[in-house]
């Protein structure tokens, strides 16, 4: 199974989306960074394997995993029932909200206000799915990755987004004059590492590492460093 394979190979392949700050991105020296990257480093180290980061985008995360191009996906990968049919998840190591955000000037009180509005999101992400089902009547504008979504929001190609607060923060850092604010919270999703179905041994090992690091606060430290808020209390116990 995969754990043996990792041992044989001598390194672990973890898929991270470097196009979705602050979870995955490049720093000023074009080195990968972000909370998923740091978490992946932590988990790989605790599992005792050298880490190799595999770059993915949100539409191709699952194919990457299923076709064996990665052992583990850590790409702000929300746990959903649909995904559970195809892959397994570890215990959650973070949470991500799906929010609708827009500038002050745009009045959005409930989902009905979104009818006929253009809503930017990332194609194939759980944000996409949640917004598409909840905000009936809104026009979805889908980009291939968060980076393009952010660029579109900063340049004003779309004005309303259905994504995470983290994306909103990234946007606001680049458009200080007319910042977005959270209008609606569509869902709060815990996210976890994704594994191939039946990789129980690896899952056990990963779960153990996650539990330890949630307890000792290391994961929370990473999360707080990049997201600006700490993890919910009930995850830390």
């Amino acid at each position: 199974d995969t754990l043996d394979e990792i041992k044989k190979r001598g390194k672990i392949l973890i898929a991270v989306d470097l196009g979705s700050p602050p979870f995955g991105m490049n720093d000023a020296n074009m080195q990968p960074t972000g909370s998923d990257v740091e978490s992946a480093k932590l988990i790989a180290a605790d599992l005792g394997f050298p880490l190799e980061i595999v770059q993915v985008t949100s539409p191709n995360r699952i194919p990457f995993l299923l076709t064996g191009k990665a052992d583990l996906v850590m790409a702000s990968f929300s746990v959903t029932d649909e995904r559970k049919k195809v892959i397994d998840f570890s215990d959650p190591y973070g949470v991500i909200q799906i929010v609708v955000a827009a500038p002050k000037s745009v009045a959005v009180k409930d989902l009905k206000d979104l009818v006929g509005k253009r809503l930017g999101t990332t194609r194939g992400s759980s944000n996409d799915k949640e917004a598409t089902t909840q905000a009936q009547g809104a026009e979805m504008v889908r980009y291939d990755d968060d980076a393009t979504l952010i660029t579109a929001l900063v340049s004003g190609q779309v004005n309303i987004m259905a994504s995470s607060p983290q994306v909103m923060a990234a946007v606001n850092a680049r458009r200080p004059n007319d910042p977005l604010e959270i209008k609606l919270v569509l869902k709060t999703n815990p996210y976890a590492a994704g594994l191939r179905k039946g990789d129980d041994a690896l899952r056990e090992a990963v779960n153990k590492v996650i539990a330890t690091n949630l307890k000792n606060g290391k994961l929370n430290e990473i999360y707080t460093r990049y997201n600006g808020t700490s993890l919910p209390e009930d995850m830390l116990k």
Binding site: R61, P63, R123, G124
Partner: protein
């Protein structure tokens, strides 16, 4: 090989596929028509315009032909936004495709124009035709007739290249495929289906061009010259 193919999963998505095909066709049709007009004007400008027009067109053609469409799409989409103009993805896609295919069209049409013998021009001139009349009746029409097969190939390539505009949120066939495969996790099957759809589309486009050619180029029809 342990992978189990399952195309049935994709059946419920036929409506999405159809929408994607429809948008792909629309994008291609509009860009073909506009790109043809732009390209033909550029070709005429380059063949017979004042030096500054020649220079401008030459520069335009060289820049477009030596940079990737993907990058052109990004520059158009984000570039005009930076200027404060906000257009829909579809419009930006069309704009980028037109600018792109216009350059290629202009090169093809130019070759056609150059293949028209100078004596034809003189004959028209001697009949007293004005410059625009000469251009339309004696040069442009036969030139385009001559390069029609090359143009057909170019516009089929355009249709295929329109898949790139999925990157800027145009919901054409490739974008639909990407969404469906992340819904169903059946990426391989999805791309096979989409590949077949594109093949069918290119066949349809070729057929359409052939029929259009039959209608427009009467002589070829009457003499039975292949298009």
């Amino acid at each position: 090989m342990t992978y189990q193919f399952d195309f049935a999963v994709l059946l419920p998505f036929w409506r999405e596929f159809a929408m994607g095909v429809w948008l792909t066709l629309q994008l291609s049709l509009i860009s073909t028509v506009l790109g043809f007009i732009l390209g033909t004007l550029c070709a005429i400008g380059r063949a017979d315009g004042p030096p500054w027009v020649k220079f401008l067109v030459a520069t335009y053609v060289e820049i477009i032909r030596n940079t990737p469409l993907l990058v052109q799409v990004f520059i158009v989409y984000f570039g005009i936004a930076t200027l404060g103009i906000h257009v829909s993805a579809n419009l930006a896609a069309v704009l980028a495709l037109v600018v792109n295919v216009g350059a290629y069209t202009s090169e093809i049409v130019r070759a056609g124009l150059e293949s028209i013998h100078k004596s034809q021009l003189e004959a028209a001139e001697c009949l007293g035709l004005s410059r625009p009349q000469t251009y339309w009746h004696v040069i442009v029409r036969p030139a385009i007739e001559r390069v029609y097969p090359a143009l057909t190939s170019q516009y089929v390539l355009l249709m295929l290249a329109s898949s790139i505009t999925s990157q800027i949120s145009a919901e054409e066939l490739t974008a639909v495929a990407n969404r469906i495969q992340s819904d169903t996790f059946r990426s391989f099957e999805t791309y096979i289906v989409v590949g077949v759809l594109y093949l069918a589309l290119s066949f349809v486009v070729r057929l359409a061009f052939w029929l259009f050619g039959l209608v427009v180029f009467v002589r070829r029809r009457k003499l039975g010259t292949a298009l």
